[in-house]
């Protein structure tokens, strides 16, 4: 499986994983397809798990006093 999961938004990865699970539940995949999708599913599951455990929340404060919106880092995930 050469489809890259890097840069894939979590939501997309998770939804794809759920979609794959549903396809498997329907049970109408032929063996070759099933193995491909199985591999993809595991790849997505690993990616999602990694995303959750490695990503951090980030806070920026929007200063509206300036004419143009200006984003300023308040802190990084330390609240």
């Amino acid at each position: 499986m050469s489809v890259k999961t890097t840069k894939l938004p979590f939501k997309a990865a998770y939804e794809e994983l759920e979609q794959l699970t549903k396809e498997f539940e329907r049970g109408d995949l032929d063996l070759e397809e099933a193995l491909k999708k199985f591999e993809r599913g595991l790849e997505l599951a690993e990616y999602c798990t990694k995303q959750i455990s490695e990503m951090k929340n980030r806070v920026v404060e929007i200063k509206r006093k300036f004419k143009q919106p200006l984003a300023e880092d308040v802190n990084d995930n330390d609240v």
């Binding site: 099933a34 959750i52 951090k56 980030r58 929007i62």
Partner: protein, 423 residues
């Protein structure tokens, strides 16, 4: 009588003079509302009174951001002025603040009724919060405990989110304007928020006024981005709560509604993985089973064929064996017969042989020469005939007597009948 030192005004000049003198500074006056009415939907007139005095108030309808009716205790902020045409003294009101629990409660009910009638709380317009928001617009006071609590729960539950905070006053004069403009900003910069959270800690009805104000309610209503509202404690209810797409009981509850719980999601991912595993192994098992069954069927067919072939072979070998048996039987019979014949032949031959030898012996015994040796003689007459009885001879006949080793002649001298033959 005139005084040169005192200026002389025209009426208009005087009104202008007064207005300049007293209208420069804002005043705040507290009192009870009476004779409240709205003219043409644009101008509001009412009196503000206390036990002893009364003052007229005038206001532009769009400036009114609270529900107001007679009997309410309010604080008005505005400029005193004299109306030129009528010469009436009044306060030109910029702002009305409700004052006292009763007024606030009443205003709350009035606004709630009005907004409900307009459909701002309609459940069918509520939108869901995206399942996995990547960007959250947060409208809060950055100094508040609500903000700290919200972030703590958010960080506990989920990660990878960018939170854009717009710091607002959550009570006081600037609160409504701050909150409304924060909504405007997020809606004008939709890239910053997949969902908006509006939060504030608990407080009195007065503290929560901004969240019960009509402009804030309308700002939530007109937001194109779904809004979670978590204001106050569990028991607090604000109009912002009613209008929000998702109503949270508290700021921490808002955090738990705006992002998923990573433990839950991780367990769903694990469940999905194991579902994939079991599906694939079931599929493999099924295929394996199918193949095994096919092989089994083939084996069965082969076995059946083999049985058939074996049966034919068995039949054939039975037949061969039978034929062999028959042949053996026949051979045995023939052999027996041959044996029997041989034995009979041998017997016959031996008997014949013995017969022959006996006959030979008999013959040998019968041989006259042999007899001669035993002392018998052959007597012949002259005619050559063998003398067997007396009658064959006559006295005086010459006879030839043959003994074992030759012949001699004799003459019959006498004849006696039945004499002694042997001595």
């Amino acid at each position: 009588m005139t005084n040169d030192l005192e200026p002389i005004f025209s009426v208009s000049e005087f009104v202008e003079y007064i207005n300049l003198a007293i209208g420069r500074r804002k005043v705040v006056v507290e009192g009870e509302v009476s004779s409240f009415h709205v003219n043409q939907g644009k101008w509001i007139f009412f009196d503000l009174k206390d036990d002893e005095s009364k003052i007229s108030c005038f206001m532009l309808a769009y400036s009114l951001d609270v529900a107001c009716e007679d009997g309410m205790k309010v604080r008005v902020t505005g400029s005193p002025r004299v109306h030129g045409k009528s010469g009436k003294f009044s306060i030109f009101v910029d702002r009305i603040e409700l004052h006292g629990e009763g007024a606030l409660r009443r205003a709350f009910e009035l606004t709630k009724k009005k907004l409900a009638a307009e459909g701002l709380f309609a459940p069918e317009r509520k939108r869901p919060i995206p399942a996995f928001p990547e960007k959250i617009g947060l409208i809060a006071s950055k100094e508040s405990a609500a903000y700290t609590d919200f972030m703590r729960i958010l960080n506990q539950r989920w990660s990878g989110v960018q939170i854009s905070l717009i710091h607002v006053h959550v009570q006081g004069d600037e609160a409504v304007r701050d909150i409304v403009s924060a909504f405007e900003w997020f809606n004008g910069n939709a890239d910053f928020a997949d969902a908006i959270a509006l939060i504030r800690g608990g407080g009195s009805l007065e503290d929560l006024q901004a969240f019960n104000s009509e402009p804030v309610a309308r700002a939530l209503f007109s937001s194109r981005i779904a809004v979670v509202c978590g204001v106050g404690h569990e028991r607090d209810e604000t109009l912002a709560d009613y209008v929000a797409d998702v109503r949270a009981a508290t700021p921490t509850h808002a955090a738990s509604l705006v992002v998923p719980d990573q433990r839950e999601v991780l367990s769903r991912i694990r469940a999905a993985s194991s579902a994939l595993y079991s599906s694939v192994s079931n599929t493999l098992e099924w295929h394996d089973h199918t193949v095994t069954r096919a092989v089994g069927s083939l084996a069965h067919i082969f076995q059946k064929t083999e049985y058939a072939v074996q049966s034919v072979i068995r039949d054939l070998s039975d037949a061969v064996r039978q034929a062999e048996d028959q042949m053996k039987e026949d051979t045995r019979r023939i052999t027996d017969e041959v044996m029997s014949i041989t034995i009979q032949m041998e017997y016959f031959l031996s008997r014949t042989e013995s017969c022959v030898s006996s006959a030979k012996r008999s013959l040998e015994n019968m041989n006259p020469l042999t007899v001669l040796k035993r002392g018998y003689s052959i007597v012949r007459s002259t005619s050559g005939g063998i003398v067997k009885k007396l009658a064959d001879t006559h006295p005086g006949d010459s006879l030839s007597v043959a003994v074992s080793d030759g012949t001699f002649s004799a003459i019959v001298s006498s004849q006696q009948k039945q004499g002694r033959l042997l001595r």
